[in-house]
């Protein structure tokens, strides 16, 4: 799992560079997110604009990442392609995560909080 990181103040913007978030990469993704949280990141934007396929294991890894926050922090998602967004809606993930089309909109949303 390749994840590109950059900072916007105290916000970590993590962009998944792989085109799939699935059972094969779910464990690596969990470990990466666990590392971000262990490093003290509490405001994370996950850019999935390069991801064109997410399965239920990938969703599980996203949920796991959110639970790692323990209610003290937030993970926003941006850039979901239409097909992935429909999957998020089917599985109600759009009610679990705040999802934005553009990365800058997600940054703006976290910045004003």
């Amino acid at each position: 799992m390749e994840i590109e990181q950059r900072r916007e103040g105290d916000i970590l913007v993590a962009k998944i560079l792989n085109d799939r978030l699935d059972a094969r990469g779910a464990d690596d993704f969990r470990k990466a997110m666990s590392g971000f949280v262990s490093d003290g990141n509490r405001r994370i934007i996950l850019d999935i604009s390069a991801v064109d396929f997410v399965d239920s294991s990938g969703l599980g890894a996203l949920v796991s990442a959110l639970k790692l926050m323990g209610g003290d922090g937030d993970i926003l998602i941006c850039g979901a392609p239409d097909s992935v967004m429909r999957m998020f809606k089917l599985t109600r993930m759009n009610k679990v995560f705040r999802i934005f089309e553009e990365q800058q909109d997600a940054v703006r949303a976290l910045s004003v909080e």
Binding site: A23, D55, S83
Partner: protein, 160 residues
């Protein structure tokens, strides 16, 4: 043509699942009517193959997962088969879209797994599991719509 069928066989490794997924997506894109989403069918097949690798074979390599893609006049059928540990039929019977509902007040209680079968049952029109002679097959069926929607996405001709 009345019936078209393609069989894919992979070794039981998660790294191979995307090969099947992408192939199914491509096949659906090429031969199915526009009202069937290639992504949805790929998702269901990937979930089914993941189950074979992770549960039927316990993530052990060296076993076959067979995927048969068949296109009929009014339906698309994908059979996903393994020869590993059979699935408890109750898992399929109990899988329901209600399992995808979430409780906003209990994020810690959100399940991290168990969405595969509910997703499959929500997307597909018929899901049947059979275990016979040491071979387990999950059969996924999606029926085509009618009218304009039955036109193929490429060429705009009615399906035959």
């Amino acid at each position: 043509m009345e019936h078209k069928e393609i069989k894919l066989v992979i070794d039981s490794e998660l790294k191979n699942v995307s090969l099947v997924g992408r192939t199914i997506n491509g096949l659906v894109s090429m031969v199915s009517p526009c009202d069937i989403s290639p992504y949805d069918i790929e998702l269901c097949v990937v979930e089914a193959v993941n189950n074979c690798v992770e549960h039927a074979y316990g993530k052990q390599r060296g076993h076959e997962v067979e995927v048969r893609f068949a296109l009929g006049r009014d339906r698309l059928v994908v059979d996903v088969c393994d020869t590993g540990k059979p699935m408890d039929q109750r898992h399929l019977a109990e899988a329901d879209v209600a399992m995808l509902e979430i409780d906003h007040d209990d994020i810690d209680g959100l399940p991290e797994q168990g969405r595969g079968l509910p997703i499959i049952k929500e997307i597909m029109d018929a899901v049947i599991y059979q275990s016979k002679g040491g071979k387990n097959c999950l059969s996924l069926t999606k029926f085509f719509g009618s009218g304009e929607k039955t036109r193929r996405c490429t060429g705009g001709q009615d399906g035959d």
